[in-house]
């Protein structure tokens, strides 16, 4: 068996030949790493954003087979996808919730980079392209929910077109050239922008924005995909009402990433200032942050003004986002009073939030530094143990078998739900399967790591020490195991000690030089 695996057969040789050939391509300059253990997803939120972009590309391409960008057929074609096409409900929900996930991940990605000061050390271009990419992402999501041409979509299109029209001097020309002259053109051209122009712009920006080090963490990618599906199952997106020009629509609010802007539009102030200038100013200030930030340090704790600046922005976004959503439900009040936000009220709240956020930021920095100092002082006294789940080889195998069995069950359940027309349950189960797979993959790579660690050389001198270890009451490391097994493995431990001690006494070998290799990714195969 070992022979057949190690020998380069035809297929393996072919794959290796391709792999070597990639040396001549652009991909050599990108270092992919597939982490062999859990790493914090904050570090690769950008990669997760890209993954959702791919998911959106695939699901969007599938939707294109049925969608018709014509004003009186757009909504009907989406309804057909949603209600009639097999698994059309699934694809549409993945596309819708994927778009929300992408916007959310992009925002989280941006704020993580912001607070950790990653835009410094010659990363300014990455940051600036990232901000533009984020703006285009929101435009992409916006054009997407517009072309359903429900009542809400029609209002969104009309707001987009009239805001463009309100730009001084060039506005009407831009609107005419980019959007056309009426709603028939608007729908068709928003579609062209949504499925081609904006994605191509995004790909171009990504080519500049991609750093050279990329982390592709399979469990996290699967967990995010699963989360998108589960959200689709729990909150399936509706179709809205079909837009009828003879029936003026009811009150609607935009998607959550635009209600902040909507709150400003609702203050009655000039539409160009509130709808174009304010968001433009916000984007511009983000673009300029790396050039304003002159701190020599990176951590948010060492850059109080910039941190406070970011916190202020987040606080204002949160307040206006809620405010934009909020419309009093009392229908006896005249519409204008329900809809119009008092500008004095809104803008004074915006201003009050600045000192509040600065105070909050400085307080948090003070508390964090204090906690850091205390932790440093207590370092020598406190317990050093880190809670870990340590599984033996046998248990790793059983966990994987159990997870596979659970996935088989979920597969049957998902298919059964789809057969009986319970689409949202079906997509929920499919999401659950992906999450279970994420867990399975993590346990799998953990097991592979454990298998890679060579057993420590037989050391008869250690026997006494091991016996002492075995006679201890169940240690913290054993707590995760069921009691009986823990006891059993304790009893067995002395016998098998030379062969199977590695997983159980891992804490001992944590400084071992061989152990470090288990953290290497697949990409390091090239190096070795």
């Amino acid at each position: 068996m070992a022979v057949s695996l190690s020998r380069r057969t035809g297929t393996v040789a072919f794959i290796n030949w391709i792999w070597d050939g990639l040396d001549r391509t652009i991909f050599t300059s990108i270092k992919f790493s597939f982490p062999a253990r859990f790493v914090s997803p904050f570090g690769f939120l950008g990669m997760l954003t890209f993954i959702t972009f791919i998911i959106l590309g695939v699901s969007g391409a599938l939707l294109m087979f049925y969608y018709e960008p014509i004003i009186d057929r757009a909504w009907d074609s989406v309804a057909f996808i949603n209600d009639e096409v097999p698994f059309g409900f699934h694809i549409r929900n993945i596309h819708y919730h994927g778009s929300n996930a992408m916007v959310l991940l992009a925002i989280l990605h941006m704020y993580y980079q912001f607070f950790s000061g990653r835009y410094k050390i010659r990363n300014e271009i990455l940051w600036v392209t990232g901000i533009i990419l984020g703006t285009v992402t929101i435009l992409e999501a916006f054009t997407g929910y517009d072309i359903i041409f429900s009542e809400r979509a029609e209002l969104a299109i009309s707001i987009a077109a009239s805001l463009t029209n309100s730009i001084p001097i060039a506005g009407p020309t831009i609107r005419d050239a980019m959007f056309g002259s009426g709603f028939h053109d608007f729908v068709l051209r928003f579609y062209a922008q949504h499925v081609f122009i904006l994605p191509v712009v995004m790909l171009g920006l990504m080519a500049v924005h991609f750093p050279r080090f990329l982390v592709f963490d399979v469990p996290m990618v699967m967990a995010i995909s699963g989360a998108i599906l589960i959200t689709g199952g729990v909150f399936p997106i509706d179709l809205g009402f079909k837009f009828e020009p003879t029936v003026p629509p009811g009150i609607t609010v935009p998607e959550w990433y635009l209600t902040g802007l909507y709150a400003f539009l609702r203050t009655q102030y000039d539409k160009f200032v509130t709808g174009v200038l304010w968001p433009g100013l916000f984007i511009l200030s983000l673009l300029l942050v790396p050039f304003i930030d002159r701190y020599k340090k990176f951590s948010w704790k060492d850059r109080p003004i910039i941190t406070a600046f970011g916190i202020t922005g987040i606080a204002q976004i949160m307040v206006t986002t809620y405010w934009g959503f909020y419309i009093p439900s009392d229908t006896t009040i005249p519409l204008v009073e329900r809809l119009v936000i008092d500008p004095v009220y809104l803008y004074s709240v915006m201003i009050i939030m600045v000192p509040m956020s600065f105070g909050f930021s400085y307080m948090m920095i003070h508390l964090a530094k204090d906690a850091e100092r205390k932790a440093k002082l207590a370092k020598d006294k406190g317990p050093k143990k880190v809670a870990k789940i340590e599984l033996s080889e046998k248990w790793i195998n059983w966990v994987i078998v159990a997870l596979i069995a659970f996935m088989v069950f979920l597969n049957i359940a998902a298919y059964n739900a789809a057969l009986t027309g319970m689409n949202n349950l079906s997509i929920f189960f499919a999401g659950l399967i992906l999450i279970v797979f994420a867990g399975l993959f993590h346990v799998y790579r953990y097991g592979m790591n454990q298998a890679n660690i060579p057993p420590p050389p037989p050391a008869p001198l250690q026997q006494e020490k091991l016996k002492a270890l075995a006679e201890q009451p169940a240690s913290t490391q054993m707590k995760e195991l069921p009691d009986s097994t823990a006891a059993k493995s304790q009893k067995e431990l002395p016998k098998n000690a030379p062969k199977e001690t590695a997983p159980q006494i891992k804490a001992e070998s944590s400084g071992h030089s061989l152990k470090r290799e288990s953290n290497l990714g697949t990409s390091d195969v090239k190096k070795l």
Partner: protein, 202 residues
């Protein structure tokens, strides 16, 4: 040395002259593509002639039978294309004014037609005939329009500078039987107005 001399005598060096030629050549080479920009806009080709007022039920509006304090949605200019006629920019609120605003007279002075595109952010407003309202209201940001003049009196549209506070309107003609027609239209802020932009009140 000689170069310096030539610079003194001739204001334009040979290199600069070549650069100028290069720039000129580039400009001429790409000049024919400028009007290609006309590919992008898609102006309406519908003719703006006299047309009957056709109600949503397919009948022609008659000023003797149309109910007082009532509104319908009419389409102008019609293209004959069902899809293009469904467009919001071609939709007008056809209103017969309430009694107190002079809607009882059986002539065209009791009728109004305003573009349904709100002047604020282009949502579609609607006439509300209920007691206490009797005005045009936009569901998006609450602009309210006076049904007699088409001028916004409340909400964001009322704060916009003229002509963007008054809705474009259609004028009417009538025949001896009372059937109504839309008079030929001129788009312009000093005439019937511009849909989505506004009209100066004369």
């Amino acid at each position: 040395m000689s170069e310096q001399d030539s610079k003194k005598t001739k204001p334009l060096s040979r290199r600069d002259f070549l650069k100028l030629l290069g720039a000129g050549g580039t400009a001429v080479a790409f000049a024919p593509f400028v009007p290609w920009g006309n590919f992008m806009p898609n102006p309406s080709t519908a003719s703006l002639e006299k047309a009957p007022v056709i109600l949503p039920d397919g009948t022609q509006a008659n000023l003797k039978t149309f109910p007082i304090n009532h509104s319908e949605v009419i389409t102008y200019p019609k293209t004959g294309d069902r899809v293009l006629d469904g467009e919001a920019f071609r939709k007008w609120q056809f209103i017969r004014l309430p009694e107190e605003l002079g809607g009882t007279k059986d002539d065209i002075s009791s009728f109004r037609a305003y573009s349904m595109i709100c002047l604020h952010l282009w949502c579609l407003w609607k006439y509300w005939p209920q007691e206490g309202r009797k005005r045009g209201e936009c569901p998006c940001h609450g602009s309210m329009y006076n049904p007699v003049t088409g001028t916004a009196f409340a909400g964001p549209a009322s704060l916009q500078a003229p002509p963007s506070n008054t809705l474009p309107q259609l004028n009417f003609e009538t025949d001896t039987d009372g059937f109504m027609y839309i008079s030929p239209v001129t788009w312009g802020v000093n005439a019937n107005g511009v849909v989505g932009y506004g009209r100066f009140v004369k």
